[in-house]
């Protein structure tokens, strides 16, 4: 093998071995970009019934700076419409019904983020930041990461941290903080990426995130009934003002030579927090090359979470005697089963366009309370289904 090919191989290998998740975006995981990259993606998310639909457009530009640096700029536009659950009510027999907002929500989000990465022989430094704006929600964030190779590049240590400052300006007055609320989130990540053998990689990450400030949802309501099942109060969602969450993730990637060089990706994640929510996620995908640049990727995922300590579908008592309360379906116990399929076609050509990749995929999700690990008999009032369609183009010049 020529020296040039060897260098190229080592560069590509470094890319694989160092592929750490940056806190903001995983697009430019530790690698020296020697090309100008343009990545454009369209996504369509849609829930069953007349619920939320989101169209999202994203474009990312990666630009080399000299031989050891790259910069990346990313723009996202989301258009959201549809109905969203507001609260739950219950009838005289105790049957719970979810009450929706009506299909009145129309929202747009714009986000810009950028980062700069500096590559040394055995380490990579990255720093970035971003700004996301909606008419009632603004978020500013900064992040930095460091990855270091050792053990003859079999092992990479990844450390990163981020901080986000959010301003929430609810369009309805909220008793917690009026119409100007703030929250701050800090997150740190420590991880190790390990080459296990010539056909397998393992990554282990631990993240800790601390949020403080206004963590409630200003548009969710909670219904209180008295002992005779008579509605007494409609209150605003009220959550603790701090949240600390731990997440442990293990990712395993296995090359399968006999299956036309396919790759199995297996992820498992456990999270726990001081709101009493524990979750498990298993995400499996099989990346099957078909020849002539075609690849098909079937995927399955299972997610399950227990309910928050302060979640109930409806409450009995009064808000003044209840420190925190929420009926937000996302804090309930439930499970989500999903399956998806993605097709990609890669074309390589000569300059100026060196590489073109087309991707299209769809993933279908079934969210049900009874899918919660260990069972859940709270009923099906909050069950729904949704799908996510994505289509994207990746270009290298």
């Amino acid at each position: 093998m020529s020296k040039r090919k060897n260098t190229k191989l080592i560069n590509r290998l470094t890319c694989a071995a160092l592929a750490l998740p940056g806190l903001m975006h995983e697009a430019s995981a530790a690698r020296v970009e020697e090309t100008y990259d343009v990545d454009v993606q369209y996504g369509h998310y849609e829930e069953s019934g007349q619920r939320i639909k989101v169209n999202t457009f994203e474009s990312a530009f990666t630009i080399p700076i000299g031989n050891a640096m790259t910069s990346m700029f990313n723009f996202v536009h989301d258009a959201v419409s549809g109905a969203s659950p507001i609260y739950n009510s219950r009838d005289a027999q105790g049957k719970v019904t979810q009450v929706m907002s009506g299909a009145s929500i129309k929202e747009e989000r714009n986000m810009i983020d950028a980062n700069i990465a500096y590559f040394l022989d055995q380490s990579t430094l990255k720093a970035g930041g971003g700004y996301s704006t909606e008419h009632d929600y603004k978020s500013k964030y900064l992040n930095a990461s460091w990855s270091q190779d050792f053990n003859k590049k079999h092992t990479t240590l990844n450390l990163s941290g981020s901080v986000a400052f959010d301003d929430i300006e609810p369009t309805n007055f909220n008793s917690d903080c009026g119409n100007k609320c703030t929250k701050t989130t800090e997150q740190v990540l420590a991880g190790v990426t390990q080459v296990l053998n010539k056909d397998a990689l393992l990554q282990t990450n631990l993240t800790f995130s601390n949020s403080s400030g206004y963590l409630s949802d200003p548009y969710k309501r909670v219904i209180f009934y008295d002992a005779n099942n008579v509605l007494t109060t409609i209150a605003s969602d009220k959550r603790p003002r701090d949240r600390r969450q731990w997440a442990g993730l293990v990712r395993y990637v296995q090359h399968v030579e006999d299956a036309n060089r396919a790759a199995l990706h297996a992820d498992y994640r456990f999270t726990t927090d001081n709101w009493g929510i524990n979750s498990h996620t298993v995400d499996l995908s099989w990346h099957q090359p078909l020849g002539e640049g075609w690849e098909i990727v079937p995927r399955i995922r299972y997610y399950t979470q227990g309910k928050a300590d302060f979640y109930e579908p409806t409450f009995t008592g009064t808000p003044t005697n209840t420190p925190n309360y929420s009926s937000d379906y996302r804090l309930a116990g439930f499970g989500v089963v999903s399956g998806g399929l993605k097709l990609t076609k890669t074309l390589s050509s000569s300059k100026p366009l060196q590489y073109l990749k087309l991707n299209a995929g769809i993933e279908y999700f079934d969210h049900k309370s009874r899918y919660e690990l260990g069972g859940n008999d709270s009923g099906s009032f909050a069950d729904f289904k949704y799908y996510l369609f994505t289509a994207s183009v990746n270009l290298k010049f």
Partner: protein, 71 residues
């Protein structure tokens, strides 16, 4: 909780030692695009942002960008 942290720490240690040495010339399979930990970063970021909006859990993979994801 304590058990979880200890298990994870042990996992981190094990993952650094329970492997065989692979010379650079034998790492071709690891460099295949389908072997990247995140083969499609944009799709991965969109999926994680969607999950953040619909599920209480987050973390592990890194951040998912800003914004409310309230609906």
């Amino acid at each position: 909780m304590q058990t979880f942290k200890v298990s994870l720490f042990i996992g981190l240690i094990i993952s650094t030692v329970a492997c065989s040495e692979v010379p650079a010339r034998q790492r071709g399979n690891l460099a295949l695009p389908q072997m990247a930990l995140t083969p499609d970063a944009q799709e991965s970021a969109l999926r994680q942002h969607t999950f953040l909006s619909k599920e209480a859990a987050s973390g592990g993979y890194g951040g998912t960008g800003g914004g409310c994801g309230c609906n």
